[in-house]
């Protein structure tokens, strides 16, 4: 770590873990720490942490239908585009969102979309949620 760490991006975060709820708080804290070291503003740090958490929570809740499965989290900079990019992927099958989500659930995706300008790529092989925030400067 250099003294002027705002000029040198922290190393990318990358991990693959069992998709269970108990794993998520530690990943959320790691994501937040990464965003802080990146120099993102406080609001962006909050948004990134919540959107990242919601994307991971969706994998835990929906991807594997109760079967064990893996969750992959990646957080890295795209210096060319000036973006901090967080990607959450699985090899499962999300339940299709119901056309009229009940009053109690279905708030995760709106949070992911609004906070992270997310692109969601659904395929037979799994789902990838890609979220991005502008790098400072």
């Amino acid at each position: 770590m250099t003294e002027r760490r705002e000029l040198s991006a922290p190393p990318a975060l990358h991990c693959r873990i069992p998709a269970v709820a108990e794993q998520l708080p530690a990943l959320r804290h790691a994501l937040r720490e990464w965003a802080v070291r990146l120099g993102l503003g406080a609001d962006d740090v909050e948004d990134l942490t919540l959107a990242g958490y919601e994307a991971m929570a969706n994998v835990v809740a929906h991807a594997y239908g109760g079967e064990p499965g893996q969750l992959e989290l990646r957080a890295e900079c795209d210096p060319d585009k000036g973006l901090a990019v967080v990607t959450v992927s699985d090899q499962g099958q999300w339940r299709p969102p119901s056309p009229a989500p009940g009053p109690l659930h279905g708030r995760g995706l709106p949070l992911i979309r609004q906070l992270g300008h997310a692109e969601i790529d659904n395929s037979d092989g799994g789902t990838t949620v890609r979220m991005a925030w502008k790098l400072p400067g």
């Binding site: 909050e46 942490t49 919540l50 995760g108």
Partner: protein
């Protein structure tokens, strides 16, 4: 799941969930106040749901959920609040106390802030009871 209210209550000692949420219940004339501290995520939201259900069962005129010391509010917590809103119906006025962005932002994005009464302090929430 029914949990005895006294499991959560007490003005002094808060019941502490090992996963990082603290909920205390306070009885005032006409109102039950739940004070929540810590993180409300998919692991801890069930504790909040239980506390909310127990409070609704007491049929107070108002149920005040103080989230001003919550550091993280995920959609599982929003679902718990939406559930409480349904349980309260017309009989119980549900109010949420929050002033910090970590709580207000998810409420706003999902439109819950327009369905719930959001107050900036517990005093304000109780004044209008």
């Amino acid at each position: 799941v029914n949990r005895a209210p006294d499991h959560l209550s007490g003005l002094g000692d808060d019941e502490t969930d090992e996963r990082g949420i603290h909920i205390s219940e306070q009885h005032l004339p006409g109102a039950v106040v739940l004070t929540v501290r810590g993180d409300v995520d998919m692991l801890t939201a069930p504790s909040l749901e239980q506390a909310l259900t127990a409070a609704v069962d007491e049929k107070p005129a108002a149920l005040v959920v103080d989230l001003s010391r919550v550091d993280f509010l995920a959609s599982a917590g929003l679902a718990a609040l939406a559930g409480a809103m349904q349980q309260c119906g017309e009989q119980i006025t549900l109010k949420v106390v929050a002033h910090q962005r970590t709580v207000l932002r998810p409420l706003e994005i999902t439109g819950l802030d327009s369905q719930l009464q959001v107050c900036s302090s517990q005093a304000e929430a109780l004044e209008t009871c």
